[in-house]
């Protein structure tokens, strides 16, 4: 079987990713994992929820990414009085050239390739739910008409974990629709030096677009071709099962503090992200290490703690760490299948 074309494709994939990283790195200091996570979400066709205190550059990251990708970008600042129509769009009466009046749909900010839902938890659940169909189905239905969203469509939402007053935590159903939940860490001293150098000096030139829409779609299709061996997939499934209190390999932490484990959508996210990570490294198949590396962002928002866990201040990251430690990389006692001719 000829493997050269696929090798070239993978090499091109890596080249594009490197260019994208470099473009983002011109404006964004550090946060390599967050950048990779956002790119992963985009390539997987998913959405990302970025959590971090104000001022960490979440919005800047999303804006920079959009600029480097030559994709349409819109930002929605979620507030308590934000209405669904403010996001999706509304139908207005438009007077034509002949004076004829007709209803015309005015697209809302959701009609963009990259949508920044800033401080999404400040909007009411009704408004938050307006994003549900768009995020899952990549289309918007207003009245009797359904409007398809342009691909790629990526919602990058941010939320502030500190300010709980006047906020509306995202419902579990909506959280589950986010491919990744990324924690934006506070920069260290070196990163702060670089941030200050960049932002307090002469204006920096805006990043140049490095990837077009077609390239993104092509990369998304390539990701789907990456194979996953059965034992790797089995490991992802066992990790997923272990997040449930009743799971066979569930650690004590999960048994004690978890009310609901991850949905199967979590395993999908893990495998897709593992594939993308393999491609990032120029490999042709996902590995167990890839699964382990992406388990945290893919599963942390899909695990629902019980009251005791919340009262104890347990984080879902702790539960996932315990799961990764507990679940063996290979099922014990399973003999490899015979190699076919």
């Amino acid at each position: 079987m000829e493997t050269e074309p696929i090798r070239e494709k993978v090499a091109l994939f890596r080249k594009r990713i490197d260019e994208l990283r470099q473009g983002v790195a011109r404006s964004i200091v550090g946060n390599r994992e967050v950048v990779d996570g956002v790119i992963t979400c985009m390539l997987a066709g998913g959405h990302a929820l970025l959590e971090g205190v104000p001022g960490l550059g979440k919005t800047m990251l999303v804006r920079t990414l959009a600029e480097t990708l030559t994709l349409t970008f819109s930002r929605i600042q979620f507030t308590p009085d934000l209405m669904p129509a403010d996001i999706l769009g509304t139908t207005v009466i438009d007077e034509g050239q002949g004076g004829a009046k007709a209803f015309e749909f005015r697209r809302g900010p959701v009609f963009a390739n990259i949508v920044l839902a800033d401080e999404i938890n400040r909007a009411t659940p009704k408004t938050q739910s307006a994003l549900l169909e768009a995020m899952q189905e990549h289309r918007v239905t207003v009245g009797k008409r359904t409007h398809l969203l342009d691909e790629p469509f990526v919602v990058l939402a941010t939320q502030n974990p500190l300010e709980m007053e006047g906020t509306y935590p995202l419902p579990e159903a909506q959280l589950d629709r986010f491919f990744f939940k990324l924690q934006v860490p506070f920069p260290d001293r070196d990163e702060l030096h670089r941030i200050l150098d960049l932002t307090t000096g002469a204006p920096v030139a805006r990043p140049e677009p490095v990837l077009g829409k077609d390239a993104i779609v092509e990369m998304q299709l390539l990701v789907r071709q990456v194979p996953v061996a059965r034992h790797v997939q089995d490991y992802a499934i066992r990790v997923l099962q272990a997040t449930h209190p009743q799971g066979p390999d569930a650690p004590d932490l999960a048994v004690r503090f978890v009310r609901y484990g991850s949905s199967p959508r979590g395993a999908q996210a893990v495998l897709l992200a593992a594939k993308i990570r393999a491609l990032f490294d120029g490999r042709f198949a996902a590995s167990v290490d890839d699964v382990r590396a992406v388990a945290l962002p893919a599963l942390r928002h899909r695990i629902l703690l019980n009251f005791e866990g919340e009262a104890e201040g347990v984080k879902t990251d702790q539960v996932i760490d315990a799961v990764l430690k507990k679940v063996p990389e290979a099922a014990p006692g399973a003999e490899p299948r015979s190699i076919a001719n």
């Binding site: 590995s287 006692g333 490899p336 076919a340």
Partner: protein, 632 residues
């Protein structure tokens, strides 16, 4: 494609080698761990075997099971299935291949039709990286973590195996003599009694028994006999004395009394009759000799009436004796019949259930045989006397001289009877004393060494010595080594010190022989105790450093003067005597008198009153303990 398959097979071989190393490492680890546990178990097993709590077979079984278990664990660890792609994943992990080999093997297992270019590329990458892979480096056979603990267990096992548990095995050895310990005071008491008995005894049997008992006492005193031997010899002596016991003493006395009644009817033989009635055979003997003398000197016509009266009395006494003899014969016949009956029963009853009864009958049989023997001996004496009296009565009518000889012979018979009776009394006393001695030994043994030491201390106190040997600064007895100069000790001085009971007290002899307690500065005892053992003649040449002034010159001429005391009978009251004796020992003259008086009363009470045997012993024992002692 063929080359790719070969390459994949090379990867498979690589992974299998890696898996074998994994199995080996796992088996080694499990085996060493199991070996450690087996060694621990073996340590316990061997230790239990050493102390004898587990038998040889059981211990060997546990050892075999333990080490067979180790083998089983090792085999099981080898054959237990490994996780999927274990070897490949081990290599991947070591070489950082990100599951390249495992994925390649998984993709190679998929049918070719389903194999995608990505899979093929992954397989190619794995094939490309395979030549540089070394399972030996990826999966090193490291020493098991439990090896140290196992080695320690092995060392402990070796130590336990080398450890020799000393087991108490009673070694057969010759039994050493455990001499019987009797207080010297008790031995002296018995010896005193024997000496007193020997002085008045004329019987050879009694003297022989006394000598034998003296030898026994000497052996006891010299600690040459053990308890068993002592009791055996006492029993032998008792048996010997019991053989001559007066079984029919009362019957004989009754017969003699009836003869005495008959003889009392004649004026000439009245004194004989009275003596016989009083059971005083010695007096009867003398009276009969006197009668024989009178008969020899009497003239028949002058004393015819008295002689006739005497003849009638003698004849009546002879008849009574004959009647008594026939009664004795009947009694003997009854005894003989009983012996025969018992012998017949002893012969017939051979059944097992009659064994105890048979044993009892045999004992009764032996007693009857012994009774018959004694009775025959006594009856022969009595019969001879009867014959002599009858012959004397007959000869009175013919020849007074003959009658006189008959009476002399009758007197000789009475003398023999008297001697026999006296001998029996002595034997009875001796037997009684043996019984008391046996009881004494038994009780001393029951009291243990504490009892014996108390008795010894009591004996010393009773002699006026200090209760504890060498206690205090009064020097104790003269036999105690002192710290003075030997040359300064003198026998008399040492003796004086021995009498001291407390520091600062000295006993001196008064004019009447009474002891007088003199209070001194408390140094006399110490000075007296400076003696070095046996008193020596002469005087010492040393000088007590506590005494001021120049020492006495050794060459100075001296003159020893002894002033004997005079007994005037004037002393303290009885209560004072007893009080003083209890405090200072039972060795004063006054106490001896008081004791004698009290002891006589006690003996009379013991002989007349109905006092239980156990209490009787204690009374006797009490008086034995408080008896007067010789002055030390």
């Amino acid at each position: 494609m063929k080359s790719q398959e070969d390459a994949v097979l090379r990867i498979v071989r690589l992974t299998r080698r890696a898996e074998r190393r994994t199995r080996l490492s796992r088996s080694l680890d499990a085996t060493v761990t199991a070996l450690g546990l087996a060694l621990c178990l073996s340590v316990i097993d061997v230790a239990l075997r050493k102390v004898g709590l587990v038998g040889e077979l059981g211990a060997r079984g546990v050892l075999m099971v333990s080490f067979a278990g180790v083998l089983c664990v090792g085999v099981a660890a080898w054959v237990w299935p490994l996780p999927e792609y274990s070897g490949a994943r081990s290599l991947d992990r070591f070489y950082g291949l990100h599951d390249g080999l495992a994925n390649a093997l998984a993709f190679a297992a998929t049918p070719l039709s389903e194999r995608t270019p990505f899979m093929a590329a992954a397989i190619e990458d794995a094939i490309r990286s395979a030549p540089g892979l070394r399972p030996r480096a990826a999966i090193p056979i490291v020493l098991p973590r439990s090896l140290l603990a196992t080695a320690v267990c092995g060392a402990v096992l070796a130590g336990v195996m080398l450890l020799e548990i000393r087991r108490h095995v009673p070694v057969a050895h010759a039994t050493t003599l455990a001499p019987m310990d009797v207080s010297p005071d008790d031995i002296d008491d018995v010896r005193d009694f024997l000496a007193q008995l020997a002085s008045r005894s004329s019987s050879d049997e009694t003297k022989s028994a006394i000598e034998e008992l003296n030898r026994l006492l000497s052996d006891i005193a010299n600690r040459r006999v053990d308890r068993t031997e002592v009791f055996r010899r006492i029993e032998a002596l008792e048996m010997k004395l019991a053989e001559a016991a007066p079984i029919r003493r009362e019957a004989l006395a009754r017969d003699l009394s009836s003869m005495g009644e008959a003889l009392s009817e004649a004026a000439l033989s009245r004194s004989i009759g009275k003596a016989l009635r009083d059971d005083d055979l010695g007096k009867a003997r003398d009276a009969m000799r006197e009668l024989a003398k009178k008969v020899r000197g009497a003239s028949a016509p002058a004393d015819k009436a008295k002689l006739d009266e005497l003849r009638d009395a003698l004849k009546k006494a002879s008849d009574l004796a004959a009647q008594n003899r026939s009664a004795l014969e009947r009694h003997r016949q009854q005894l003989a019949d009983e012996v025969d009956r018992l012998k017949a029963r002893a012969g017939d009853s051979g059944a097992d259930e009659d064994q105890s009864r048979l044993q009892k009958d045999r004992q009764e049989l032996e007693r009857l045989d012994r009774d018959l023997g004694n009775q025959s001996r006594e009856d022969s004496q009595l019969e001879r006397l009867d014959r002599e009296l009858a012959q004397a009565a007959e000869d009175l009518t013919k020849d007074l001289g003959m009658s006189s000889r008959d009476l002399d012979e009758g007197a000789a018979d009475l003398n023999r009877l008297n001697e026999q009776q006296l001998s029996q009394q002595e034997k009875e006393e001796l037997r009684q004393r043996l019984t008391e001695l046996r009881e004494l030994l038994r009780q001393q043994a029951a009291g243990g060494k504490g009892q014996l030491s108390r008795l010894k201390r009591f004996g010393r106190v009773a002699r006026g010595q200090s209760g504890s040997e060498g206690a205090g600064s009064n020097g104790g007895s003269g036999a105690q080594p002192g710290d003075g100069q030997p040359s300064g000790s003198e026998g008399q001085e040492s003796k004086g010190a021995a009498k001291g009971e407390q520091e600062g007290e000295t006993w001196i002899l008064g004019a009447n022989g009474e002891k007088i307690l003199m209070l001194t500065e408390g140094r006399s005892g110490a000075a007296g105790g400076a003696g070095q053992g046996a008193p020596q003649r002469g005087w010492g040449e040393g000088h007590d450093p506590h005494v001021q002034g120049a020492p006495t010159h050794a060459k100075m001429s001296t003159e020893d003067t002894q002033v004997p005391g005079t007994e005037t009978g004037q002393g303290g009251s009885r209560s004072q005597v007893i009080l003083g004796a209890s405090a200072r020992g039972f060795s004063s003259h006054s106490y001896r008198e008081v004791f004698t008086e009290y002891h006589q009363v006690a003996e009379e009470s013991l002989s007349h009153d109905d006092i239980p045997g156990g209490y009787r012993f204690y009374v006797k024992r009490y008086f034995q303990l408080i008896r007067p002692r010789e002055e030390p």
